[in-house]
């Protein structure tokens, strides 16, 4: 086998050799059965490639696609709106944790000095939970509207993690029903809610980056 020519057979087949090279290769082919056979095989590979049949996916992907089309034209937040909403909700979540921990004393916390609106009284665990639930719901709605900007693998990971967090929240809430005054359980629930908000915020930020 003459590798010098064998390696040029595809270019010859595709009509990409200069005329002098093509003439030289054709001279070689006339006397080399091996290269003629190889050329015939390469020609058959090209024909096979062009005759490959398309096959529909085994599973119907439309329901998942349709679910993610969402309301492209009905509702669309601007980038700055999305980021502002995400940041505000994280701050609100942080305030919720702080309010849950401050034990109703009204003691000021230097780390919250930049957010005086969160240091307002009336911060009972019930109140911050109501506000945090509302914030989570809003952030979830925002993500639902913008989820189509994320790729499928990312959506799956986000959903899996949200599922894990939701199960943890549910457990904490059940435990709190039995022991409402537990500082540990209140803190645990607040931290878990914060994780959820942070995940939603990150997913929204990613959606913004992908848009």
């Amino acid at each position: 086998m003459n590798h010098q020519w064998t390696d040029r057979l595809s270019e010859y087949l595709d009509g990409e050799l200069m005329s002098a090279e093509r003439d030289a290769l054709e001279t070689h082919l006339a006397g080399c059965a091996h290269c003629r056979d190889t050329l015939a095989e390469l020609r058959a590979v090209v024909a096979r490639a062009q005759s490959l049949e398309n096959r529909a996916p085994a599973a119907d992907l439309w329901p998942e696609i349709h679910a993610r089309l969402t309301v492209r034209r009905r509702f669309s937040l601007t980038v700055s709106q999305l980021l502002a909403a995400s940041i505000a909700l994280v701050v609100l979540s942080g305030g919720g944790v702080w309010l849950a921990l401050r034990d109703g004393s009204g003691t000021s916390d230097p780390t919250m000095a930049a957010f005086p609106q969160l240091v307002a009284p009336a911060g009972t665990p019930v109140a911050w939970r109501a506000r945090t639930d509302m914030a989570v719901a809003q952030l979830e709605e925002t993500l639902a509207q913008n989820e189509s900007r994320l790729d499928t693998a990312t959506v799956r990971v986000v959903r899996q993690n949200l599922g894990i967090i939701d199960r943890a929240i549910e457990k904490a809430q059940r435990a709190l029903q039995a022991d409402p005054g537990s500082a540990y359980l209140n803190l645990h629930l607040a931290q878990t809610m914060r994780r959820k908000i942070e995940l939603l915020r990150r997913a929204n930020a990613l959606a913004v980056a992908e848009s």
């Binding site: 390696d7 057979l9 595809s10 270019e11 990409e16 190889t38 095989e41 390469l42 058959a44 590979v45 090209v46 096979r48 490639a49 062009q50 490959l52 049949e53 398309n54 096959r55 529909a56 996916p57 599973a59 992907l61 439309w62 998942e64 696609i65 349709h66 993610r68 089309l69 492209r72 034209r73 009905r74 189509s148 900007r149 790729d151 499928t152 693998a153 799956r156």
Partner: protein, 174 residues
């Protein structure tokens, strides 16, 4: 499906009609999924096909009708696949350096030869060589276009195509 019907569905889908977009999905999903499956690992094909149609829905407003919708969607598919390739980062031995890439992939020549059909053999080529082969021989792109898309020189595209063809010769009848 008649071309005029598809064109009407493209216009309807661009205005937000999800039913029309479903008809476009039904008409084009096999071609898109097959292209994705041949360019990437098979287990990614469903996810990436979804991404292609979601991206198409988002970008339908930019479709000007200068080419057929199928051509536009095909190019979009290639772009999504190549973006996926970049985002995943690690590729399986990207290019072929000899004529036995399939045997090296498994280390069991006889078993491989006996069990694989042409599409399976294609799927086992190193990623870069497989993508060159699919883009050139299956999809009809030219080496200059492929080189631009993959970020290589045309000579690399040509040599990888040749190696891929040489490797696939023995799977012609399967």
């Amino acid at each position: 499906m008649p071309r005029q019907v598809l064109e009407a569905d493209v216009a309807l889908a661009a205005s937000g009609d999800a039913d029309a977009f479903e008809r476009l999905y039904r008409a084009h999903s096999a071609r898109v999924h097959s292209l994705v499956r041949r360019m990437l690992d098979g287990d990614e094909a469903d996810d990436v096909t979804q991404d292609v149609f979601i991206r198409a829905w988002q970008k339908l407003g930019t479709f000007r009708g200068e080419s057929a919708f199928g051509t536009w969607l095909h190019r979009l598919t290639v772009n999504v696949v190549l973006a996926r390739r970049k985002s995943v980062g690690v590729e399986r031995g990207r290019f072929i350096t000899d004529d036995q890439p399939l045997e090296r992939a498994t280390g069991r020549r006889e078993t491989v030869e006996l069990s694989m059909d042409f599409e399976e053999a294609l799927a086992r080529l190193p990623d870069g060589a497989r993508q060159v082969f699919v883009l050139h021989d299956v999809e009809g792109y030219r080496h200059e276009e492929i080189a631009r898309m993959l970020g290589v020189v045309p000579g690399t595209s040509k040599s990888q195509l040749h190696h891929a063809r040489m490797a696939l010769r023995r799977y012609l009848d399967r």
